[in-house]
Amino acid sequence: MSGFTDRAEAALADPILKIAVERTAGTAEAKRGIAIDAFPDFEAARSRAAAIKDHVIAHLGAYLEQFEANAIAAGAKVHWARTADEACAIVIAICKAEGAKSVARSKSMLGEEIGLPHALAEAGIGRVETDLAEHIIQLADERPSHIIWPAMHKTRDQVSALFKAKHRSPHQEETIAAMAESARRELRTQMLNADVGMSGANFLIADSGAVCTVTNEGNAELSLVPPRVHIVTAGIEKIVPSMPHAIHMLRMLARSATGAALTQYTTFYTGPKRAGDRDGPDAMHIVLVDNGRTKMREEGLAEMLRCIRCGACMNHCVVFRQIGGHAYGGTYPGPMGAVLTPVLDGLAPNRDLIHACTLNGKCQEVCPVRIPLPTLLKGWRDKSWREGLEPTSMRAGLGLWAWIATRPSLYRPVTTIAMRVMRLLGKKGWIASLPLAGGWTRHRDMPRPAAQTFMTQYKKARRP
């Protein structure tokens, strides 16, 4: 049994997880729906957002060079990394050169993707996650289970126990407000005293060299203004041509993620502290990370580079809402994660993950940049088949079926016999256990087939 299947089974057996996931994802779905209904022509806005991203992806090299030149002109240092290891090595080298002992980090999925928390730990550099959910995850030594609500799988009781065990001055009342206040007390001094502030980027603005971050907590600003160094790690696909282009994407991002018109705090950082500025870092470093993105562009996954990490696809996914994020195994959960994980972690170990989709198309319907996620998943399935990664039993079974199905004179009697056998196994319209298809009937019943095949019924109906 593979890792994904094991994890999914464990998740399905966890009743608390199901409630936690449903509560957050269901609320997000409802709020998004209200926001989209109130927005004038969201469908046209989705098409525009997709067109902006496609334009950038078509000219990605030129826009990256433009961004680099403008960021350098603003005083930032720009670094390039082909792989996750290269990116981490650059970040660690900057931290060591600055003599940094502590890092305050604002939530960044790219940072998770390249393994930055692990790299910092290996280098002996203290890390404090400042997003409340990431702080919870760090204390619990777990991975995020959602890209917007990383701790959605945690109950208030679990959070309370964590804070009481790890905070210096924990909450006394068992309320969520008191727990949040405990985290506020705990994190504030650490943010103010950190040597380095780290962030990702929601957007990189080519014509100004600015880096845009969005948060509702304001933790990005509190993490990035006091330290003497700001390090940004950003995927190369985060580029937009100008701030007006970013504004359109921001309208799409907030509504798709949380149903808000805009996040509470949206900041564009252009270089380090200027002469006369009363706060801000002395140095700003921007690490532009490829880590498979150029390959995606070359090998039929360019549409996936449109992704703005809003999480709408997972909030609306029937599979995600049953199993939550950890079962997916990779950095990114849900439909977008099922497409990205084989890029980042390889197809062979994720062969069963790409099948964990009903292809109902809901993710594509809600995607603010119109990523054809079901089509991309089918592409992975096709590749898995062509590369011989599917199990022998499945290949043999499908081969046998194809051989019979292309011979109607054989197919019809075989299906007639199979139906009669299956009807014998069924009671009250359902089959509870089916030989050779235990995987299907282990968790649900199969409908008992009709008394006659379609062709038999069709022929009968045609008779005068």
Binding site: W80, I176, E217, A260, A261, Q264, G280
Partner: protein, 202 residues
């Protein structure tokens, strides 16, 4: 080959056509704003639960200290204020206040001037500079913002400055909030718990 050259070599292609990039922005879909009633539209967005800001109105800068004293008294706070070194603010009569220009980690209240207000979202637009530090606006419990009515603009596209950018250009659209524990909304996650806007008519 450097990482930079290796990445860019794989991304070779035609330079982007500026007209093509501009065409992507023609008539953007966005919430409608009635420009004849900008102030009312802005205040309506400001009062939405998602922004959750209170407001007051003053006729001139001379009335500003009184308005702030009124707000702080209503919140049960002392007349202590972190005031940025902006000459428009330091010129006011702050008698009765205890002022300082650097925010303490547990700062109660800060005053800042917004360069613009955006009616589409109820956002307040700020830029850093020698008289406009950024950190106090994220440290204080009460974020008090002065905004001239004439600086209210309809859409987010009106927010950016043209030309060279400041070190940080930031939009504030509410208070520091979180729904990270069981989806319950909590104000003041890390930064301000209260946002109070004082509109300046003159």
């Amino acid at each position: 080959m450097s990482a930079r050259d290796a990445i860019l070599a794989r991304l070779k292609g035609p330079s982007p056509d500026q007209a093509e990039a501009d065409a992507l922005l023609v008539a953007p879909e966005r919430p409608a704003v009635n420009e004849a009633t900008l102030e009312a539209e802005f205040l309506a967005r400001l009062a939405l639960p998602s922004v959750n800001a209170s407001h007051d109105v003053v006729g001139s800068m001379a009335d500003l200290p009184t308005a702030i004293a009124r707000y702080l008294a209503g919140q049960g706070e002392a007349l202590t204020l972190c005031l940025p070194p902006d000459p428009r603010l330091t010129a006011c009569d702050w008698g009765g206040f205890t002022l300082h220009d650097s925010a303490a980690p547990d700062e109660a209240a800060v005053l800042a001037i917004a360069r613009r207000g955006i009616a589409e979202t109820g956002s307040l637009i700020f830029e850093t500079g020698p008289t406009a530090p950024m950190l106090p606006n994220f440290l204080a419990l009460h974020h008090i913002v002065l905004l001239a009515v004439r600086d209210i603009a309809p859409h987010l596209e009106n927010a950016p400055l043209t030309g060279p950018q400041p070190r940080a250009h930031y939009w504030v659209t509410g208070v520091s909030g979180t729904t990270d524990i069981e989806g319950a909304y909590v104000r003041g996650a890390h930064g301000p718990r209260f946002l109070h806007v004082i509109l300046l008519r003159n």
